[in-house]
Amino acid sequence: MRENSVCANALDEYTPLIGESEVKELRLLVERLGSVRMTMINSTRTGGGVAEILWRLMPLFEELGVQATWQVMKGDEPFFQVTKNIHNALHGMPHELTPKEREIYLSTTKANAPDLDFDHDFIFIHDPQPAGLIKYVKSRKATWIWRCHIDISHPVPGVWNFLEPTLRRYHSAIVSSPAFAQGKLGIRQFLFYPSIDPLSDKNREIPQREINGILKRLGIPKDKPIVLQVSRYDRLKDPIGVIRAFRLAQRHVPCRLVLAGGAADDDPEGAEVLAEVKAESGDDPDIHILVLPPDSNLEINALQRAATVVLQKSLREGFGLTVTEGLWKKRAVIGSAVGGIPNQIRNEVNGVLVHSVAGCANEIRRLLSDRVLRERFGKYGHEAVREEFLITGALRRYLLLMLMLREGLH
C-alpha cells in the first residue's frame, strides 16, 4: 500500500524523459551485478525527502530484478528529539549531547537491532537516526554504507565525537555534494546528488488549464511576469533580501513577486520571519506571500511552471532541490553561490549565480527583459537535471556502487 498519495511509476514511464539508452544501461548494470540482496534502513516511512524518494525508488529496484527491501527502525518521541538535536548539531547548530540523550540514542538503536533483517549483501543506512545499528549487529557479511543526506562539513565537535567512532565502522559513506563531505570521517565518501522524480506531482507536466486554475485559486493574476521563490520562511533563505532585490528590479521592469513557503504554526522562528516578511512587503499589491500546506505539491509545480524567473537567494543552503525543480521546468533560475547550488547552476550556461541583493536585482531585470536568454538557460537547465539529478540517476548510482564494491574498486 502506498501512503501520502505517493504512487510508483514503472521504469518504462521514464523512457520518454530519459531515453531508451538510459533504461538499457540500468538493465545492463543489473545484469552484470547478478544476484544481490540489498536493504535500505531509515527512521520513517512517511514525511521528509528521504521517505519520499524511497517510496519511488524501491519499486524501480524491484522491477529491475534487484532483491531490495526497505526497513524502518522504530523510535519514540524522546528518541526523535535526540536525533533532531544530533541532526541540527551536524549542521553546526550548537548543542551538547547530555548523558541521558546519549543513552536514549544508544538504547533505542540497540533495541531495534533484533527486529531488523541484516541478512543482505549491502545495507544502506540513511542519516544519523539508524547509524548506530551497526554496533549491535555481529554478522559482518554485509557491506554497510551510510547514506548521509545532510551537510556534515562543519559539525559541532562534541556531537561529531560521539558519532564518529560508529561511522568509522562503515565501509563507506555517500554524501549529497562535495561541499557536504567531512574530511575527518576516515572512510571513503561517494557523491550521490539528490534527485527529483519527474513523474511526481511536484514535477510532472501539467496542462496550462490546470496551472491557470491553481493561480486563480491562489489569487495571483497573470498580468505581469512572475518572480518566484519557494522556500520555508527562514532567515537563511533570505526572504527579506528577495523582496529588496525585487523592489530594485520592479523599478525598471513590471513584475510580480511570489514567495511560497510552508505553514509556520509549529515553528516560532518561522512565524517571526513570516511576520517580518509581511512587514517588509507592506501593502504592495505586486508581492504575494503564500503560506501553503505541506502537501501542496501540485500548487508548487504550477507556481514554478507559471514563473518567468525562479529564485533561490539563500544565505546558506542544503542542496537546494527547489533549484533542481526550477531547472527541470525550463525556468530561468537565479541562485546564490552557496551549498549545493553551484553544483546545479553552471553560471551563465543554465542559470546565474549571485552574491548580493544588488546582483540578484540586476539578474532579475536582465532575465525578465531577455526571452532568448531565458529560453537558453531553461533548455540547458532541463538537460542538466536530466543528466544528473533525476531519480533514475540515483538508481544508476546505487547499482554502480554495489557493482564496483562487489568487483573491487581500484
Partner: protein, 218 residues
Amino acid sequence: MGEFFTLKTSSNLVEITGLRAWNMRQLGEMIGMAPDESIFHHTFQSFREHHYVTEPYASDFAQWAEVSLHFPLLAEELGVLDIRDFVSLEALRMELMGIVMRVVDEHSNWARRPADYPFDFCRSYSVINELGLQANTPGELARILPQVGIRCLHYHLIEARLRIGLKGNDFSFWLRSQWEDNHKCLDVADAIESMDIYHYTLPELRDRIINLLREVDV
C-alpha cells in the same frame, strides 16, 4: 570480413577525494597531488556532463577560476587547453599545474585570495558495458548510432584517446584499420578526428559522424 565495431557505454561513479582548494595556489598544488582519476573527472568527465551545451570553459578547473576565484585570466589559460592534445593524464596534469603555478607566480597578490566556494577534487570510476550492438560496415554503424546514449558516444569519441593512447578515437581507428586501402574511409576517419568537439554538443557531433559514415560505400 573485418572486425565488428562493438558499441560500449561507460557509467561513472564519483568519489570525493577530500582534497579541497580554497585559492589559486592550493589549486595548483592539489592538481599536482590529485589521483589520475581526479584529473580525468574534472576534464574528460566534465566534458561529458555538460555535453548538451558548448560553453566557454569545458573543464571544471577553468569554470571554477572564472566563477569562484573571479580570475578570468586563469580561466582563459585553463579553458584554452584541448583535451585532444593529450594522450596521458600525467601529461594533462603537468600542463594544468604548469599553467596555474605560472599564473600564481605572475600574480602573487591573487595567489592566496580565497575563492567564493572551494574546489573539491573528485575522482571518477568507470564501469564499461557492451551494449549488445555491433556494426560490420560504416553504413551499419550510421544506422545504429542514433540508438545509443551520450555516454556511449563519449566513450568512443572522447575517452578513447586515453585508452588507445593515440590522438584519435574509436571510430577513426576502426575505419583506418578495416579499410586501409579505401580513400573515402580514410578521409572520413580524418574528418571525424578533426571535428571540433568544443564547438558542437555531443548530440550534434553524433549527427555529423552519422552523416560522414553515410558517405562511405564499402
